[in-house]
Symmetry: C2
Subunit: 190 residues, 2 copies
Amino acid sequence: MVSHTAPLDGEFSLSDLPGGAGRLDVLCRAATEAFLVSHGIRKEVVLHLAIRDQLTISLWGPRLRHLNPDERSTGALLREALRAARGLPPGEERPSTPGITVRRLGLAPLLADLRAAGAAPVVLDEGGEPMRTVRIPDRPAFILSDHQDFTPDESALLAPFPRISVGPKVLQGHQCIALVHNELDLREAG
Amino acid sequence: MVSHTAPLDGEFSLSDLPGGAGRLDVLCRAATEAFLVSHGIRKEVVLHLAIRDQLTISLWGPRLRHLNPDERSTGALLREALRAARGLPPGEERPSTPGITVRRLGLAPLLADLRAAGAAPVVLDEGGEPMRTVRIPDRPAFILSDHQDFTPDESALLAPFPRISVGPKVLQGHQCIALVHNELDLREAG
């Protein structure tokens, strides 16, 4: 998820995620939606939060801990990661809480990393092909924006990749994540 | 949504929705998911939160105001409704914030009310018919449980109604709401 407004440091109150924390609530919901099912976690998922083209917080399903369904406790995990980024040199990956790391990394190098690791980027976009009938690559890396549209620079960067749409209404990011998971669950179940 | 643990009064901290407020975070997410799309609200929706077979908080889409995407502010709206219920006699409907009312009403009379108003109950349940291929009534009233299973009494009450399943994984309540909306959106769009 590409974030345009989240803070680059951890100096904010958990009681004001939508305001003082620059709509961090949007990223919290993306995180819980990416990983949580009823009473369990999707171990096979990795979520990268690319914040203002400067920091990337990554949540690694195989070793992720302490992620609860509520926004506030998720905000606390992300705040820890932002605090861990203080003084972080480019190129270094610093651990935060278990299963969460942070890097000084923008969107372009993040995409390059993903592709080098064999992932196929797919952009979630209301103008894309309908999800239910489209081919989805074997190792998809779904790219979506926060509550704001992709910038022209981001759109240019994402132009080479296929775009899919989850439905006829423009939804919130975390809702798109829930829908993509369900589509993949159904395909996997045959 | 049937709630088994939410408080019956408004004496709790918004900073501890999952704990001191009896998993009120579950109902907050149901509320935001029932109504919110990206930058808009689904005016045609009504959500009833049936709490511990004693109180029903209703959110009425046509006149609902002040519902924001984050959990904490939604928790504040529900807390207002719980506070408005203090000393409320059975049979009376009391307004809280715009578009939210509260009644001293259990699940059985709520279901009777819905049916009298022409709604057709449909139970969201992992053992139900697959949603994508099932017939959905014209005026459906989807019934789902919170983070706990339906009790035997509730299951008995719901036994006459059709059951549908959103997918092969057992999901959180708000995720099921997002999936049902998407299914209805797609059917409406043809």
